[in-house]
Symmetry: C2
Subunit: 531 residues, 2 copies
């Protein structure tokens, strides 16, 4: 597979894409990157959204109050008394450059007490608030829509404690995920969550978004690993549930409402989390398969034979690998073309044992014809090389300008069928093609197969109403019919708010609104989003 652009598709470098490029798109190594254009305001992309008149507008008196409260000059950024829009823009815009708000005030508290006083003040004055961590979300949840005040947690970045025997870490919400993981690595432990944005996302935001990522297959979800939370409710109440115990059956587990609550009922200021021992032996294999059925069989064998050392099972279809190879001008690890690829990672305490298990597994799946070809990394460089075939997929897909992205959970047997059906639908409508007259480049799928989590991606030359009409509600209806989830790990934010009904019943939505009203009766927390 050394000839990019061959056969099925011609990977023309984009020239006329009129859409905003994704972050990935800008970083692609092929073609001329589109110069960044001003990001469209969310309120323009979603004209049905109107500013809620119940909310007050920020005044210079408010600014004065916060300046006195937070003390430091750098803790308050505002464009009310002066024009400071350049400073404010990074807090108004998401990294995908898809969402942009009109915020005029950013606050950076340093303590939980400050957060409490901020929220109490805002609640009393009906000032709307958007909690913001690393601002790496994918659904527009961490930037304002109108003039909500941004409460950014970056200055709450202390690791409070770590217990070597139990593996329990207590840290403030603004600690960068990678910083936490590096700290744990020094202590021979691992953060039970890993994701592409680890260098900038914050652990409080991860918990608020209930991030899934690459280690969920092995270590489970944050609902199991987070042992305690410190959070602030809109009325200033400090939820002091920063439990450092693995077991504590004393009453309702309220902290769970904040995990995946996307900052709509309060602001997480600290977490306590159970961190596993770090594995000394890591192995990664990458293989090609003939069909999705074969990928399923391989997953079943991996579960059985790799069992306790299996730490990732990722799926990439052949198209994602071909695009990646073309865009990045990268030689793929396997010769020839395969309709599907899987990446398997093992993590264990004994390299020899793990190698033997992995070899047995590979011999079995190749002997049985489940896997067509495979390669095992021999050192850390090769491990990184194989992982890059999975991790640079999103970025490569952005090469032509934009990507329609769906993060879905579907019962595993039908996981990939959606990609086929969507491709067929868009192709029949005449929307997919090799040249610039077609908006859609291709329809591809990849994701966390071990968790039944598919990322359906539609790389496109321009955002196009006709494409959207063919994608939605089609994709959501398809998922609904299989009792799947329309947002497996990315959350609702503003992007999926309107579609929750495809994954939740009216009863569930009603019960959720009840919780929102209970904790945030004035609705000041992260408005216009979520449910």
């Amino acid at each position: 597979m050394r000839a990019p652009g061959a056969r099925q598709l011609r990977w023309a470098a984009t020239t006329s894409a009129t859409t905003e490029p994704t972050q990935g798109g800008q970083e692609g190594s092929k073609g001329t990157p589109t110069p960044p254009k001003a990001v469209k305001f969310t309120a323009e992309s979603y004209p049905e959204l109107k500013r809620d008149a119940r909310f007050a507008e920020v005044t210079s008196d408010d600014v004065k109050f916060f300046q006195e409260l937070l003390g430091s000059e750098s803790a308050v950024i505002e464009s009310i008394s002066k024009d400071a829009s350049d400073d404010i823009e990074p807090f108004n815009t998401d990294w995908m450059r898809k969402y942009r708000g009109h915020c005029k005030l950013v606050l950076k508290p340093e303590t939980t007490e400050q957060v409490s006083k901020i929220l109490k003040y805002c609640n009393d004055k009906s000032l709307a608030v958007v909690p913001q961590g690393g601002n790496t979300g994918l659904v527009g949840g961490s930037v304002p829509v109108f003039d909500e005040i941004v409460v950014n947690l970056q200055r709450m970045n202390k690791i409070r404690s770590f217990d070597q025997v139990s593996g329990i870490l207590v840290a403030e919400a603004g600690v960068i995920l990678e910083v936490a993981d590096n700290f744990l690595a020094e202590n021979n432990h691992i953060f039970p969550l890993d994701l592409g944005a680890k260098g900038s996302c914050q652990i409080g935001g991860n918990v608020a978004a209930n991030a899934g990522g690459l280690r969920l297959l092995r270590y489970g979800s944050l609902h199991g690993n987070v042992l305690g939370i410190e959070a602030v409710l809109p009325d200033g109440t400090i939820v002091d549930d920063l439990c450092k115990l693995r077991k504590n059956n004393t009453g309702y587990d309220l902290k769970q409402l904040f995990i995946g609550g996307e900052g709509t009922i309060g602001i997480i200021t600290g977490i306590s989390i159970l961190c596993p021992q770090r594995s000394s032996a890591i192995n990664v294999a990458y293989f090609g398969l003939e069909s999705f059925e074969a990928a399923q069989a391989a997953f079943k064998e991996a579960k059985g034979q790799l069992s306790e050392i299996l730490s990732a099972f990722e799926l990439m279809d052949g198209r994602t690998q071909k695009i990646l190879s073309y865009v990045k001008d990268k030689k793929l690890p396997l010769e020839g073309e395969h309709p599907f690829y899987c990446l398997v990672e093992t993590s264990g305490s004994n390299a020899e044992h793990d190698n033997e298990k992995l070899q047995n597994f590979l011999e079995h799946v190749m002997g049985e014809g489940i896997v067509t070809d495979g390669v095992v990394a021999q050192d850390q460089t090769q491990i990184n090389e194989l992982w890059s075939c999975r991790e640079t997929v999103p970025e490569s897909l952005g090469h032509w300008g934009g990507v329609y992205k769906y993060d879905l959970s579907i019962p595993i047997a039908e996981l990939y069928q959606l990609v086929e059906d969507t491709r067929e639908r868009l192709t029949k409508a005449g929307l997919v093609g090799e040249t610039d007259e077609y908006p859609v480049v291709d329809v591809v799928g990849y994701g966390h197969m071990g968790d039944s989590n598919l990322h359906l991606n539609v790389p496109t030359r321009r955002y196009d109403k006709e494409v959207e009409k063919h994608l939605e509600p089609f994709v959501y209806e398809w998922v609904q019919k299989r009792n799947g989830s329309i947002s497996a790990e990315h959350g609702l934010g503003i992007a999926k708010k309107a579609f929750i009904g495809y994954s939740r019943s009216d009863t569930m939505i009603r019960l959720m609104k009840q919780i929102k009203d209970l904790y945030d009766p004035k609705g000041i927390m992260n408005p216009y989003k979520y449910i």
Copy 2:
């Protein structure tokens, strides 16, 4: 250690214990078991509890309604129109014979719709309700206090579905834990929860109580493993959240409130749970240690060296083993006496690898002098034999009549100190001794060390106000000072309701009451208990 009754304590068979024997006590193989006496009514043991006058009393019209609703004769047991108290008693009394209610009506619905109609009727008529699973709880949570209606889930016992690839089981609340685990064993999977009562407890009850048990160290808590819940709210609303997906980030995770909610906001009728692949290789080792510090060091080594195959790390002090040996007339696996014993279990997919890891671990901890002596089971019989040294402890301790039991979570460094401090306190007060004049036989500790979960037990010849005065609030205050939990895995029920303040702040309790009021404004669900 072949001479029971020697040295430190004389294990006199009880003759004068005036307390109700525990279930264990009756089954002890030494001494004359006290004949079961009538169980004292909870309302007498807790004279401060008064029947809530807001609740209606069950009438024969109500009985008629339920008979028509449930159809079958056997689905309604009542002592209103006729005297049927013998049939009712098992539903009124807990297995420890500590708690007893005055219930006159037991309902056994077979479908979620029936549960919905029952609760709606009860809510409309202000009839109080106690949800009941296998009635194996330890805190009196599953029996009525006064005349609450018992809704028993035993007829909702269907396994609805199981997916071989994902390992996701969907089953009704009334399925017995062991039945579920046996079903999964046939399908090469394992229920991620195991506990002594597995032969009679029900999975719905397990979830409502957030049971911990023996597999939590390896597979994590139910908050992580339960993927979905079907439940009925007091007003009859069916919470249809029976998600069969590992990931679903679409709104607040409301099901978490039912996990550990102890039936106070609704009745769980079904669960969806992620079940791991069953391990083909199981190893168990049992060893003696000189000190609790050595036990901690052994645990740290086990985490490091056994890592991904470690599936249990249990602690028993020397006194529990000595008592067990005496009461059960059982030869202990190790010669000599050791102040502490640990049981280590590994579960993995490759017996040879696991054996090697375990041998390396044992050689290391014995070479370093961390462990004094140890033995590894060679077959299933020996595995059972070693496990019985842990599992029959609670039963053996009941031999003298009663046991004061505390289920605590304490940061691991101080886990055992509480046992020492309590023993010293009771000894100084002249309450501990070898002869019948002393109420207390001994003060011992054992538990799930891997989870920092201590069972502090005080085997006693009779329940005694003086002993109680020296135990409480001492134990709770001790735990509070260490930010521990006064109920690690048993829950609150009626037993711990008054003590929640030692583990939760006033703010947390207030927020919990808010949730209770939201879902159960009339307070009909499992009243007089929990928070």
